[in-house]
Amino acid sequence: MTPAPLVQVDGLVKRFPGERGLFGLGRARRTVRAVDGVSFAIAAGQTLGLVGESGCGKSTVGRTILRLIEPDAGRVTLGGADVVALGGRELRALRRRMQIVFQDPYGSLNPRMTVQQTLAEPLAIHRLATGLEAKRRVAALLDEVGLDPAFAAAYPHELSGGQRQRVGIARALSVEPQFLVLDEPVSALDVSVQAQVLNLLADLQRKRRLTYLFIAHDLAVVKHIADDVAVMYLGKIVERAPATGLYAGPRHPYTTSLLSAVPVPDPKAQRQRIVLQGEVPSPASPPAGCPFHPRCPHPRKNERCRTEPPALREVATGQFAACHFAEQPM
């Protein structure tokens, strides 16, 4: 029995007009398919981890769901409401129910606004509180994310990275959303601070029954927080499974390689590191057939991989993979 999903994404597509070379010269523009038909669902109170290398389209997925970027195709629903179809006023109202925390704790706070102003703004926009009541709410929010309420008067440059990230989380929580997109919230933080913030997110989720889309490039971080994991490569989901299944037996060669690339803090671990050859291809010219084939280390890789794009299909219960040889994982 699976509960009805709170967030459902179907066939999401986002293309960007490609960039020209230096000084606007060079070859004609080529469209970048940043997100190319992504589908998933997240049940209320659960966390989906979205993992992949830089440039594979993770942030674009997060931002199109929130309509910070307009999708080119696809459906997004939040608790049954069609997010893509909404306009102006209704969209703004819906933004109360879904929020985002950004990767860069330095860039995501307005340098000219105090913490108080930053946190009171959403309250004012949605007419939740003003004046003294707003002050009280901001103090409560700061307390909830583990910051001293005295920080309300501080400017972002007076805060450390971890403190800023807490302010970013408090801003997202201020409108009491049900759903949070966490776009690499700990990637820019030091290990010890990263652990603090991950714990905070876990506590908040339990207390407020939040639903998370947790974006990361590190499968080890995701393991600590996700119920389900989706692995992206060049704008597509190549594997999607419950965390237990995925970590115990990855079905896609890319997932296997990602797992083996994570450094393990144990010198005795006799691991066989699969070092992928080559670089991530440009999303402006993805390879034909299986997009992973130029780097794929799977021993059975063959001509079919070069020509026929594998579909995302259920390989084991609840575990989907887009590989012709998903039944014989590496």
């Binding site: 929020q99 860069d104 703004e121 959403p122 201020s174």
Partner: protein, 308 residues
């Protein structure tokens, strides 16, 4: 001049000195302020501006005579500077010092108001173009190109020529409306990069609409180019007004502006150089001061200048 006017003048100097000292003191406590103070002329500029603003505000106290009052057209015309008339009198026997002091009100006032018009329009257009991009950007920036291509003085002269007796308010508005093109380009460039910053996305994510995003998040972070171009802008407007008045097309005659005082003294430049000379000096001082302050502000508001 009575003792009282001398005292008033001394107080104006004192106020200006205090203001400059206070700016120095406050500036020294922050990094931006210290970058400002690295310009040796910036503090002098602040002093000069403070002096002229104070005398302009306190004009009735500092000016010994009515600026338009003809004291004795027969005996007191074109008198050289003396203790009675510190800067002499003009051909209508009006006290040049008094006219200069009241002229500061007009010249600085026109400069400030026209600059405010220019900067408001420029920032608004630049922000709209940079934030909305595409169609709006293309239309607005093409009009800016056209505006920049037209010589400003020429446009103003045309307007004056077409409109017999141009009311002062309209003139100020015209000067302002022909001076925002450069500012709008600077602001647009800043807004283009600011709109991609994550805190703007964050504001949109919490439901902020375009107006709020532009006024609360984008423009305050683009304040530096706006302030700097405002400082240079006032100086330009003062020069422009002086130029128009010098041609007899600006501020109508009995009213004293620095430009119109020069215009009045111009025929007697050989015999009574003080009438045109002192307002000319005042203009030069204020424009230099504004440029010095503008230079200082440009460095102060640019944290990248820290390294040196």
């Amino acid at each position: 001049m009575t003792v009282w006017t001398w005292l008033a003048l001394a107080s104006a100097v004192a106020v200006a000195l205090v203001a400059a000292a206070e700016v120095r003191r406050r500036a020294a406590t922050r990094a931006a302020g210290r970058r400002f103070l690295r310009h040796p002329t910036a503090t002098a500029g602040v002093f000069i501006l403070a002096f002229f603003v104070t005398t302009a505000l306190a004009a009735p106290l500092v000016a010994p005579y009515d600026p338009a009052g003809q004291l004795d057209p027969v005996h007191l015309q074109n008198q050289p500077p003396s203790t009675r008339f510190p800067l002499g009198t003009d051909v209508y026997s009006r006290d040049v010092w008094s006219r200069l002091v009241y002229g500061a009100r007009l010249s600085l006032g026109i400069g400030t108001i026209a600059m405010l018009v220019a900067v408001t329009v420029g920032a608004g257009v630049g922000a709209a173009a940079g934030y909305f991009r595409r169609g709006i950007d293309a239309v607005l920036m093409r009009s800016v190109d056209v505006g920049l291509a037209m010589p400003r003085m020429f446009v103003l002269l045309m307007a004056v020529a077409l409109w017999e007796r141009l009311p002062l308010a309209v003139l100020v508005l015209l000067i302002g409306l022909t001076g925002w093109f450069g500012t709008s380009r600077l602001v647009r460039a800043d807004v283009l990069s600011l709109r991609e910053r994550e805190f703007v996305a964050a504001a949109r994510a919490v439901g902020a609409g375009p107006t709020r995003v532009i006024f609360r998040h984008v423009l305050p972070n683009a304040a530096a180019p706006i302030i700097v171009s405002a400082a240079f802008g006032i100086g330009n407007v003062i020069l422009l007004e002086a130029g128009l008045s010098y041609l007899g097309l600006g501020v109508p005659s009995p009213l004293p502006s620095w430009g119109s005082i020069i215009y009045d003294g111009q025929p007697y430049i050989a015999t009574a150089p003080w009438t045109s000379g002192f307002p000319g000096l005042a203009i030069a001082l204020v424009v230099l001061a504004l440029n010095a302050v503008g230079d200082g502000l440009r460095d102060a508001l640019d944290p990248r200048k820290e390294a040196t």
